[in-house]
């Protein structure tokens, strides 16, 4: 973490140095360089794979106490309501439905991740980042912004998952 943070600071300082001069141009140059930086990093860590946020890993259950989970065919609206409220209070500071923010958007997540993986990530993000490849890559893709453990109970996480089923 420290190294990521240090290298980011170094990178930004280099950028600041390289692009003195007029204000408006400065803006453009920074944007160009930042994009380039993300590409370089992606190549280094993932080696030509698609970014973790777009990868489909439905057969990966992740690491943690949720080993297997079967979803009912119908979506339980009562759980959805509870999940939506929990999401708003505990998650929305970093995850927005309509856009990529501090972390990825949960929209369409059921098409990319297994229910077990999602539950494990909510319940113990630290363990996942240590032991799950996809979680690790997501951390890198999202600038080292580690997902917070929000002390969500298993039942609450299940409600949030049900809410995610409505986000397509």
């Amino acid at each position: 973490m420290k190294f990521i943070f240090r290298s980011l600071v170094l990178l930004f300082s280099l950028m600041m140095i390289s692009c003195g001069g007029k204000e408006e141009k400065k803006k453009d140059q920074i944007q160009i360089k930042r994009k380039a930086d993300v590409e370089v990093k992606t190549q280094e860590t993932v080696t030509n794979e698609v970014p973790a946020s777009q990868r489909i890993t439905l057969d990966n259950k992740g690491v943690g106490k949720i080993k297997s989970l079967t979803l009912d065919a119908t979506i339980n609206q009562e759980m959805v309501a509870k999940g939506a409220a929990l999401f708003k209070t505990n998650c929305m500071a970093c995850h927005k439905v309509e856009k990529r923010f501090i972390g990825p958007s949960p929209k369409g997540i059921m098409k990319r991740r297994s229910p077990e993986w999602i539950m494990n990530m909510i319940l113990d993000p630290q363990l996942m980042v240590e032991q799950d490849r996809c979680a690790k890559d997501l951390l890198v893709e999202f600038n080292g912004a580690a997902m917070a453990n929000q002390n969500i109970s298993e039942e609450q996480a299940r409600d949030i998952l049900e809410y995610f089923r409505t986000l397509n």
Binding site: F5, T89, A148
Partner: protein
């Protein structure tokens, strides 16, 4: 040191005589203790935890420090009576009311005597009570959040020293005055002290469920100095004992004038009798003005209320409730053994300890064997109540604590030592030097029916050569002795913070498992809390601007604010949306005339900023919260007072 200096300095000559050989002896023992078995006894390996909590008072720091035993590692400083920039206590809008008094905002006090709440005479680990000595106050600290929850000011009192000791079911926390004063306060010649000044002993009722404090009554005693106190326990439950000095009632040069009488007193107060008297309508309701400050854990906010009345009791009006036990040489410590049978008076100008017997005291009262009276309060005959005398051979006895095996341990300030002696036979068993000039000592549970007599911590007033020198001012030193065997063994030396006067300790398991980890966001009732980031907003009310802000790793919502003007008063109400253990966020604003605040997970705190200059001013998180902590910042645009820029706020452009 200051506390004792008036009397002790008069014996400076003796101190010098003893210092020479005392220190040499100490040096020898100290080397002897530096062996591997002592090291093993205090070594708590990395990742391992201590066996006991120890709460050491900070004296003039105004705060309470939390240590582990036997490692001597400091875990936390709990702000109580002093402003504390580390957390923003006393600076945040929510905690400023905690330091309100009848004299206005008092940002400091001299914190002396921690006492852990008890049930049936045993430590129950709910709260710890402490006293502010200077502007008389009693505080209650939660032992689940380790935060100050309540402070009550004590009217008619001054030098609140024989305080914050509790009765064995935490029915009362007791606060006695060291400096007698006119009651009520009035303009009068100091020379008319004698017979006009009063010493108020306050009994503060503790509500059993939440611990809320309310002064039930104040006993207005003769104008002596009420120095220390302890509750009866077991058979003597229902009584409280206070040591006194200056029964001469001198108002000047007390160093000499308060040391004239061969004996002063220990005052025995039957508080159950007085309680009954008050419950039956006894006592006088007297106009008063004192602050009662309560912190609410669900609103995360302190409120201060001024109370306007107090019940006072004239002790001569309550039959058989108050007696004086003659005790030689200006007694300081007044300690009661775990059985409640013995009351130990440490005559600080003496070499001996006086032990009074509770049973003998009752018999003497029964037989009305009085040796005169003082202001209508019967004086019992010294010989009738005496259980025994400990001929210690030390000088300047101060305080006594107990183990569970019938032994007592007394500190001697002038001869710098802890002396172990046996209850009942009064024989001295062992003595060990301290480094140097020991004041209080503490055995976990040593002031209860059930002591945990494995270690004693001696808290010293003088440090001198114990650590690397740090200029003229040094932290005070403490020593830990293993007392599990017949002989005490010095096993560790550690610096303390401020000046510890007394401490309280308890087994780790009593507190560790119920120590709070986070405040639940869904239980946050703070009026300015935002429990979801989409509630974040900025609201102008005239010149006051309220910023409803949330934080999580690692950003503030909002982090760009415009439309603030010079002359505004900006309230940043910050809610930490983390729900994980040990992830606080901080907040500070450039040029703010106050400290940062540290906001615990799920908590809301408020920081005020009054911008004085036009510009774009940054704020940031002061607690290294994540790898992206350095990115956790924001800007406020401040425009001229007459500007018409609309109030606006955003995060990431939204």
């Amino acid at each position: 040191m200051k506390k004792y200096s008036y009397h002790v300095l008069s014996l400076l000559g003796l101190l010098l005589v003893f210092a020479g050989c005392g220190n040499q002896q100490g040096q020898g023992s100290s080397n002897g203790a530096l062996n591997s078995s002592a090291a093993e006894k205090v070594y708590v390996a990395p990742g391992q935890q201590d066996e006991f909590y120890a709460f050491l008072s900070g004296g003039y720091s105004g705060n309470l420090t939390v240590y582990g035993l036997p490692s001597g590692r400091m875990f936390k400083e709990i702000p109580v009576f002093s402003q504390f920039p580390t957390s923003g206590y006393g600076y945040s809008e929510e905690t400023k009311p905690m330091l309100n008094t009848s004299h206005g905002f008092v940002p400091w006090d001299d914190l002396h005597h921690p006492d852990i709440s008890q049930t049936n005479g045993e430590l129950d680990g709910r709260w710890i009570f402490v006293n502010g000595n200077n502007t008389p106050r009693i505080a209650r600290v939660s032992l689940s959040t380790f935060e100050t929850e309540e402070i009550i000011e004590i009217p008619n009192s001054a030098g609140n020293h024989s305080s914050s000791f509790i009765t064995e079911n935490t029915e009362y926390v007791v606060a006695g005055t060291r400096f007698s004063v006119p009651v009520p306060q009035r303009d009068m010649p100091i020379a008319e002290y004698k017979s006009n000044f009063k010493g108020a002993l306050s009994f503060i009722e503790v509500e059993p469920e939440h611990g809320h404090m309310d002064i039930k009554f104040q006993v207005l005693m003769p104008g002596f100095n009420y120095d220390l106190s302890h509750p009866g326990r077991g058979d003597s439950h229902g009584w409280f004992f206070f040591s006194t000095y200056n029964s001469e009632e001198a108002s000047t040069l007390l160093e000499v004038n308060a040391s004239q009488n061969d004996k002063d007193f220990i005052a025995a107060i039957n508080w159950k009798k007085i309680e009954e008297y008050v419950n039956n309508g006894g006592g006088t309701k007297m106009p008063a003005n004192y602050a009662h400050n309560v912190y609410d854990e669900s609103t995360h906010m302190g409120t201060s209320t001024m109370k306007k009345e107090v019940v006072t009791v004239d002790p001569t009006k309550v039959p058989d409730a108050v007696f004086f036990l003659p005790t030689p040489k200006s007694p300081h410590g007044c300690d009661v053994d775990p059985s409640g049978q013995y009351i130990i008076g440490a005559g600080k100008l003496s070499a001996d300890l006086t032990v009074h017997s509770f049973d003998k005291m009752l018999a003497a009262i029964e037989g009305k064997k009085f040796d005169g009276e003082a202001y209508g309060i019967p004086i019992l005959k010294f010989e009738d109540v005496l259980a025994g005398t400990v001929k210690s051979g030390g000088l300047g006895p101060l305080h006594t604590e107990f183990d569970s095996k019938g032994n007592a341990y007394t500190t001697f300030f002038i001869s710098s030592e802890v002396v172990k002696w046996k209850l009942g036979t009064w024989e001295v068993i062992d003595r060990q030097p301290t480094f140097y000039s020991v004041g209080h000592l503490m055995i976990p549970g040593g002031n209860s029916r059930k002591p945990f007599g494995k270690y004693v911590v001696a808290m010293n007033k003088i440090t001198k050569d114990r650590y690397l020198p740090t200029g003229p001012e040094m932290e005070h030193s403490a020593q830990i002795y293993d007392i599990s065997g017949e002989k005490m063994e010095l096993i560790y030396d550690f610096p303390t913070h401020g000046e510890p006067h007394y401490a309280a300790g308890c087994p780790a398991e009593l507190l560790a498992s119920k120590s709070k980890k986070i405040y639940r966001l869904d239980e946050n009732k703070h009026p300015y809390a935002v429990t979801s980031p989409d509630q974040a907003k900025v609201v102008r009310e005239g010149k006051n601007v309220h910023v409803y802000m949330s934080t999580i790793r690692s950003h503030f919502t909002p982090d760009n604010i415009e439309g603030i003007k010079v002359g505004d008063k900006v309230y940043f109400h910050i809610t930490n949306h983390e729900q994980d253990f040990d992830v606080p966020h901080g907040f500070s604003m450039i040029g703010q005339n106050t400290s940062e605040i540290l906001v615990m997970p799920g908590q809301t705190k408020t920081s005020v900023w009054e911008p004085k200059q036009v510009g774009v001013w940054p704020f940031y998180c002061t607690d290294f919260c994540s790898a992206l902590h350095q990115e956790m910042q924001g800007y406020v645009r401040v425009s001229p007072a007459n500007s018409n820029i609309e109030l606006s706020w955003s995060l990431g452009g939204d």
